[in-house]
Subunit: 195 residues, 2 copies
C-alpha cells in the first residue's frame, strides 16, 4: 500500500480539515477523532500523521480556518455605513456563532497540551482580526487617543467571546433570559459606543 497519488498533500490537508469541520459541527470536540477523520476521507489513520504533527495540530489548523472564516464575514459586515458598524459587527459575530455553535465551541474547548505555545500563524491571524476591527471602528472611535483603542477593542472581543462561550455551553441561559446577542450589543455599546 502506498503512493496512490490520488491527491497532493495540500489537497489531502484540505480534505482532512473539511472532514474534521463536518464532524466538529455535528458533534463538537468530543467526536473529533483521528480514526473518524481518516475514515471520512478514505485513508488510514496513519496517513493523517503525514499531514499534521498530531490531532492537536489538526484541531489548531481547523480553529485557524474557523477564525479566518469569521474574519471574512466581519470584514463584509463592516462595509456598511460607519455609524452602525459596531452593531453590524456584533450581529455578524453572533450570526456566525449561531450558525455552527458546536464548531465554534471547539475554539474554546481545545487546548494545546503541556506548555505548548501557539504557532506564529495563529498569533498573526488573531492580531489581524484585532487590527481589522480597530481600523473598521476608527470612524466610531472618533476622537479616542491612539493608545486607548486597541485595549478597548481587545476587551470588546474578549467580552463577546465570553458571551458566546457561555451561550454555546448552555450556561448563559441559566442566568439570563435576554438573548446573548442583546447582551453583546449592550457590552459593545458601553465599551466602544454605537454597538
Amino acid at each position: 500500500m502506498a503512493r496512490r497519488n490520488d491527491h497532493t498533500p495540500d489537497e489531502l490537508r484540505a480534505m482532512a480539515l473539511a472532514a474534521a469541520r463536518e464532524i466538529a459541527a455535528a458533534e463538537g470536540l468530543r467526536g473529533l477523532a483521528v480514526r473518524r477523520v481518516a475514515e471520512k476521507i478514505g485513508y488510514a489513520p496513519g496517513t493523517l500523521y503525514n499531514l499534521f504533527d498530531s490531532l492537536d495540530a489538526l484541531i489548531l489548523a481547523l480553529n485557524g480556518e474557523t477564525l479566518a472564516r469569521l474574519g471574512m464575514e466581519l470584514v463584509r459586515a463592516a462595509e456598511g455605513n460607519p455609524a452602525g458598524r459596531a452593531a453590524a459587527l456584533v450581529d455578524a459575530y453572533f450570526d456566525f456563532v449561531e450558525r455552527q455553535p458546536l464548531l465554534w465551541s471547539v475554539i474554546f474547548e481545545h487546548r494545546m497540551p503541556g506548555e505548548g505555545d501557539l504557532p506564529a500563524w495563529y498569533s498573526e491571524g488573531l492580531s489581524g482580526l484585532i487590527d481589522g476591527t480597530v481600523a473598521a471602528l476608527a470612524p466610531v472611535l472618533g476622537d479616542w487617543p491612539e493608545e486607548d483603542r486597541r485595549p478597548a477593542v481587545v476587551a470588546m472581543w474578549a467580552a463577546l467571546h465570553g458571551l458566546s462561550m457561555l451561550a454555546v455551553s448552555g450556561k448563559l441561559a441559566l442566568v439570563s433570559d435576554a438573548p446573548p446577542r442583546s447582551l453583546g450589543h449592550l457590552v459593545v455599546n458601553r465599551v466602544i459606543g454605537g454597538g
Copy 2:
C-alpha cells in the same frame, strides 16, 4: 474485596474531589482521568462509579466547588466600602484565576456530552453568584432601573470570563500587552461604573 468501611460515601466523594482538584490544578483537564483519581485516593476505578455517575459528573461537581470557592472570595471582597466594590470584585476575580489557572480553565474546557442539560444545583449556584453581585453592586448602580441591572451584571461576568479564558489559554497575550486584569477593570468600568 469490599466494605472496607474506611470512609463514608460522603467522605469518599470529598476525597475524590480533592484528588481531582489537585490533578486539575497541576495538569488541567487533560490529566483528569478516572484511574488517576482512583489511584490518588487508594481505591479501584470502579469505586468512583458508586460516588458519581460518570467522570463528567465528577468534573461537574469539581467545577461546582470551584465556582462556590470563587463565590466565597467575592463575598469577602465585596465587604469593603461601596465605592470601590466593583474594582475589588474584579481584583478578587483575577486573584482567584491567577492562583490556579489550570483548575480554572477546566470550567471552560469541560462540556457535558450530548444534549446533557446541567443539573439544577449548578444552575442555582450560578444564579446565586449573579444575584450576590447585583446586591453587592446596588450602591454603585445607584439609580439604575431595576430591569437593567441583571443584564448588565450578567454581561459583566461574561466579559470577565472571556478575558480570563483567553488569558489562561495564552491567547490574550498574543494580541495585547496589557495585563488581563487591567482589561477587566476597563470593561467593568464601562459596563457598570466604578470598576
